[in-house]
Every structure is written in C-alpha cells, then in structure tokens.
C-alpha cells in the first residue's frame, strides 16, 4: 500500500479520482461502473472533505427534490458542492442531480435548490392541457442540438454524439435555465420541447441517464473524463 497522501486528487493507481456523491437517492452502482469503464477511479462518498479532495465530482440521483435537498443539507454537502463547482473542476449532474443545481423547484409546492445555475424545475406536462399523457416519461428519446446548433457540442461531453442520438430518460420534471445559451440539447415530451442537457463553465448536466444509455451514453462519460 502506498502512503495515504497520494490518494488526493489521483486515486491510488494514478487514475483521476471522481467522487460520486451519495446522499441516499438512487442507484449509484451503474454510475460507478460507467466511470470505471472510462478509466476514472470512482468512489461513492457522502463525505464533504472527500468530495473536495477529488479531481472531479458527479451529483447523480433519483427521487424527490425536497428529500434530496434535505439529505444534502443534513450531510453538510450543500456548501461542499458549491465550493467544488467554484473551484472550476469538472462537475456533472445527472437527472435529479441536474435539477438540484437550479434555484428552485415547483415539485410538491416550492423548494429551494442549490442555486448554482439560475433557473427553475417544472413538472413535465403537455402544453395543450387537454392531451392525455403518461408520467413519468420512461424510455429512449432523441437529444437534439439547441439554438447553438450541433457545433455547440464541440468541447463538451456531447462532442462525439450524433445530433439526434437516443438516450434513456426516466423523469417527471425538467429544468428551465434562465440563460438559454447554456442549453446544449432539447428533447420532446408530447408537444413540449425541454432542455435535456446543459453546460455552464465547468458544469455539465443532463436529464437522461448516460450510464443507462448503452455505448452512446458511455461515450459521454468518456468525453467528460477527457475534459479538464
């Protein structure tokens, strides 16, 4: 065994260390497997200090927004996540982890989010309220480039993804960031087009689950692992 000090930033075997933030919401097994598959040294942790020592961090999650914020607060992770993002290191939010980055959510009343990205979390429903629609949205949907066009994916984790590729979604809410230019991709739900991935500085966040989207999803992890 090597000395403890070497475990900072790099894992024990020199692979870049990624902290997968565990706050009791959802299955982190496959996120970890996907990270390992693309050469990252992944740890699942609830420890703020551990997160802050890592080279990169992922906020995953499945479940209710209110419970998630409560758990993040009680684990002392809110400030740690904010500090990590401020440090400029690569940060990824997945599904609920994307939604938590917003200022607020309308899920079961009003909840304050992490407020790292200005925007809101809205309930998934057709614009035409007379339409009968299934919630949650579960399944493979296309992601299409937003107003920035496909070229806006260059240099982002989507850079090797085809415009219109299918990704796996399971959700009842979506995010609406204030700054439209942060939107990388859009996806449809009935007659609604909503942001399915965003990028702001060192933050990449997606509503779909790249770790459940077969090889095209792994490609997103691979590109993200290569971004500094």
């Amino acid at each position: 065994m090597r000395s403890h000090i070497l475990q900072n930033l790099k894992g024990m075997d020199n692979r870049p260390r990624v902290s997968i933030i565990d706050y009791g919401m959802g299955n982190l097994f496959s996120v970890r497997q996907a990270c390992e598959r693309v050469g990252l040294d992944a740890i699942v942790t609830s420890d703020a200090a551990e997160v802050l020592r890592s080279e990169r961090a992922i906020l995953p999650g499945v479940g209710a927004f209110g419970d998630a914020m409560k758990n993040l607060r009680s684990l002392g992770l809110v400030q740690a996540i904010k500090n990590f993002v401020k440090s400029g290191r690569p940060f990824m939010g997945i599904c609920l982890g994307m939604q938590l980055l917003m200022s607020e959510s309308e899920e079961f009343g009003h909840h304050e989010g992490l407020g790292i990205i200005r925007g809101t979390v809205r309930m998934l429903k057709p614009i035409d309220s007379s339409r009968k629609a299934k919630v949650p949205q579960i399944g493979w949907k296309r992601i299409r480039a937003g107003h920035g066009g496909h070229s806006s994916w260059m240099g982002t984790p989507l850079e090797n993804i085809r415009n219109g590729e299918f990704m796996y979604f399971v959700h009842s809410y979506f995010v609406l960031p204030e700054e439209e230019r942060t939107i990388l991709s859009l996806t449809d739900y009935e007659d609604l087009l909503y942001p399915s991935s965003i990028k702001k500085d060192n933050i990449f966040a997606c509503q779909f689950h790249p770790e459940k989207s077969a090889l095209s999803g792994l490609e997103i992890y691979r590109s993200w692992a290569g971004i500094r």
């Binding site: 299955n27 299934k134 579960i138 399944g139 399971v170 009935e190 459940k212 090889l215």
Partner: protein, 302 residues
C-alpha cells in the same frame, strides 16, 4: 394527433438458479442457458431494457439474483429490472444495491399494497414496477394471481392496476398467464382495458408469437413497452448453438419438438424493431452497436 411515444422492447429473462429458463403458462420450466450470455447478446442486439425474474423465488420466499445482476451491471449499460420473491423494503434495497434500476413486485404488493407507497417514497416511483399476473375468468373478468399464476387472490386485475398507480407505482407490467409462453399472441383485450385505465406506462407481457403480435399489442392494445422472451430466446438458440445449455438432458429435443407445435415464429430484436419501424412505430434503432462507439469500448471491462 398525439405524438407517438417511443416504444421500448424489453428482453425478459426468467431465471431459475443459475439458468435462463422458459416455461408455458409460467409452468414447466426448461433450462435454456447462461443468463450472462443471453443478456449480453440482447444488449448488443439493441434491447432497450432487461427484466430478470427469479421465477422460483416466490416458492422459497427469496430472490437469488444478486450475483447475476452484479455481473450484468458491470458490463451492460441499459436499465435492468429485477423481480421475484421481493417481500420487504430491505429486499428491494438489496437488489437496488446490487445494480438493479427498478424492481418488479407482485405477491408482496397484493398482500400489502402499502409496500408500494413505502418503496415509492424511499426509492422513487419510477423504481417501482407492479407486476400483475392475470387470468381470464369464464365471466370475462380478469383476476390477478400470485406465485406464477398459481395462487388465487380474487382481486380484479384492472381495479388493482388503478390502485397500484394511486399507491405510487411507476409502471405496470401485465402478464397474461393464459397466453404466456404459448405464442398465441398477446391478450389484446386485457392490455387495452388496462392501458385505458392507468396514466403510468404499461408493459405488456405474455403471448408474443410473431412480430405481428408485437405490433398489434402496441397499435391496438396501447402498450408503452413490450416484454418478450420465447420469441427472441428461440431465435438466439437456433442461431447461436453456444447459447444452449446442452448439459441439461433433453433440452435440444424439447426445443426442436416444441418448435413444431408451439405457435412461435422466432425473431431477433433487430427484426422486431425493423418490422415495427416499417409499420409506423417509433423505437430506438438497433444500429448503435455496429457504429464507431463499439471499437472504443471493446475489451475494456470484463
């Protein structure tokens, strides 16, 4: 016009001990082969999800799929649902920890519907699939059964599906026990009346004998997803001899013999998706594996 939602084609693996098995009417199980092999091939061929059912778990009150799931979770990056013998919140937590994304519960939910609410609150609605095994009665009603269609409950299947939704289920998987494994086609009437009664996604299972049957249960039945087994298993084992567990006596003979009278016309997932596409049903294309991504990930894990 409502936009056509993307339909999911789900490969269902019934598991007994270390083997993939297949029965008829959920009975008379035959060993087909290694779950890891079947799952990997279906993943590569474009299955949108996998369902693992421990088909003997209910009899022993336990689910023994953890090792199979753990291994699959390291190699296969699509959603996996695990069912069979899950009785408690702890049972559910344990299979989710092993890498399952969703759980299917039947017997435990009928005995105590409160477990749906509790599990949905704990793990998220979208994690909880309520599986209903329905048998058509002589008066035309459908009743829900448990323990692979063996145990009578007297519960009306349609009413039960609605209740399960209210309790917080994220999806319903309906199995027609009458049709399961027969290849006689889905029970369209059952699927249609369920699809019209709930506002969460519906997975149709039991009876697929041809690509046309699968098209019908989507177009006429209104299913959001289709779980298939025999039709793809028989395709796989006839094309890939290595898939068959020949150590189990009588298997080859059984399969050969049955292909004569069971009304199943085997088809690959690719063939099923191509047929659906030609007939106006949107699904995720299967071409992803042949494309440039594959080269980058070949030989990485194991």
């Amino acid at each position: 016009m409502p936009t056509q939602n993307n339909i999911r084609i789900i490969a269902r693996l019934d598991i007994k001990g270390p083997h993939v098995v297949k029965g008829i009417h959920l009975e008379g199980l035959r060993v087909l082969g290694d779950p890891a092999y079947f799952a990997r091939r279906y993943y590569e061929m474009g299955a949108d999800e996998l369902i693992y059912m421990d088909v003997v778990a209910s009899l022993y009150n336990r689910n023994s799929l953890h090792q199979i799931i753990k291994r699959a979770g390291r190699e296969l990056f699509i959603p996996m649902t695990v069912g069979g013998g899950l009785r408690t919140i702890d049972d559910i937590r344990e299979v989710l920890r092993s890498g399952a994304d969703k759980v299917a519960i039947n017997t435990a939910a009928i005995r105590n519907p409160g477990i749906i609410k509790e599990a949905a609150n704990k793990f998220g609605s979208s994690t909880i699939v309520v599986a209903i095994e329905a048998i058509r009665q002589s008066d035309g009603r459908y009743l829900a059964f448990t323990d692979n269609g063996r145990e009578y409950t007297g519960v009306d299947a349609i009413t039960w599906a609605r209740q399960a939704e209210e309790y917080g289920a994220g999806e319903i998987m309906i199995t027609s026990v009458d049709r399961e494994g027969t290849g006689e086609g889905f029970d369209i009437e059952l699927v249609k009346s369920l699809a019209g009664s709930i506002s969460i996604p519906l997975i149709a299972h039991g009876g697929a004998g041809s690509v046309e049957d699968i098209h019908r249960v989507i177009a006429e039945g209104g299913a959001d997803a289709v779980a298939i087994a025999s039709i793809i298993h028989y395709d796989l084992i006839t094309k890939e001899v290595t898939a068959v567990d020949t150590t189990q006596e009588g298997n080859i003979e059984f399969l050969k013999k049955n292909s004569g009278f069971i009304k199943i016309r085997p088809a690959s997932i690719a063939k099923i998706k191509a047929y659906l596409k030609d007939n106006g049903i949107v699904c995720r294309p299967v071409s992803w594996y042949e494309e440039s991504y594959s080269a980058k990930f070949e030989g990485h894990g194991q």
